[in-house]
């Protein structure tokens, strides 16, 4: 269980009304917390972040009837894809606010996803298609490469790599 001061910092990040305010909350915490406390904060934020990712992967009632789009061999409704895109678009800024480069942040999220999936499947007996989809996207890769993707199934790092590649093309 983290110290209360760390929990308070996590909650101020999680309860921020938008991404920009959330990043600012993390930056404020960097000034307030010790190095050890801030390491715990990073770990907590990463775990909450991947759990959110799995929940955002899950279909909702109002997703029904939406056109299905496919990415990395995983099918999503348009609304699911929009949620995952929004989550993904936050990661670069969040990693930066935490003082981590994209490779390190990507690698940490991947490890946390593997841990979460193991926990869901083995400890809680949850074996849902959404968990598999989240694992396929986020839990199966090594550190991010900034090369454009050549094959499917490389996970979160490839998402970030594809994003960076698109930016270079613009």
């Amino acid at each position: 269980m983290p110290e209360q001061v760390v929990i308070d910092a996590v909650l101020s990040w999680a309860n921020a009304p938008d991404f920009t305010s959330a990043h600012q909350a993390v930056k404020n915490a960097r000034d307030l917390l010790s190095e050890a406390q801030f390491s715990v904060l990073i770990s907590e934020i990463a775990e909450i972040n991947v759990e959110s990712f799995v929940q955002l992967c899950m279909p909702r009632e109002d997703d029904a009837g939406e056109t299905v789009v496919e990415f990395e061999g995983v099918s999503f409704t348009e609304k699911q894809a929009a949620r995952l895109s929004a989550w993904l678009s936050d990661q670069e800024g969040l990693g930066e606010a935490l003082g981590m480069n994209l490779d390190a942040w990507s690698s940490l999220l991947t490890k946390k996803m593997q841990k979460l999936v193991t926990s869901l499947k083995e400890n809680e007996g949850i074996n849902d298609a959404s968990v598999d989809a989240a694992q396929k996207l986020l839990g199966t890769s090594g550190p991010a490469s900034f090369e454009p993707r050549k094959s499917a199934g490389q996970g979160f790092a490839s998402l970030l790599a594809a994003k960076s590649f698109n930016k270079k093309k613009q």
Binding site: I48, S52, A81, R83, S85, A86, D90, E92, F165
Partner: protein, 116 residues
């Protein structure tokens, strides 16, 4: 739009710039400007441009809903209704961001309420 996208990266909303007005989005802003001049096709002045200009000049990505609404209403009054059009076009992306934030809030609150 969505049906043509095969890569999630193509769907990424642009990252908002700190302390800046809303970032340029080619599709949204072209559409917004086109709607701004739409009244000209029926022989009216381009009232909608008042809304487009007000949105660019006074609205930041992370401004409160109330501020956005007040500026939108002011533009609507100034343009006799047509100025509201660009605000309607710009709305969707922020709802998804709020959805992500709400999910994160719930996960965090559940996490610590169970442990305390």
């Amino acid at each position: 739009m969505w049906g043509k996208c095969h890569n999630l990266a193509q769907l990424l909303p642009r990252k908002p710039e700190k302390n800046s007005t809303m970032k340029f989005s080619p599709i949204r802003d072209t559409l917004s400007a086109a709607l701004g001049v739409a009244p000209m096709y029926v022989g009216l002045p381009p009232f909608g441009l008042i809304g487009t200009a007000a949105k660019k000049a006074f609205i930041k990505e992370n401004d409160s809903f109330v501020k956005k609404a007040l500026i939108g209403i002011a533009a609507m009054i100034a343009s006799g209704g047509a100025g509201l059009i660009p605000y309607i076009v710009a709305a969707p992306g922020q709802e998804v961001q709020k959805d992500v934030q709400a999910c994160r809030t719930q996960v965090a609150n559940d996490r610590y309420s169970q442990k305390i």
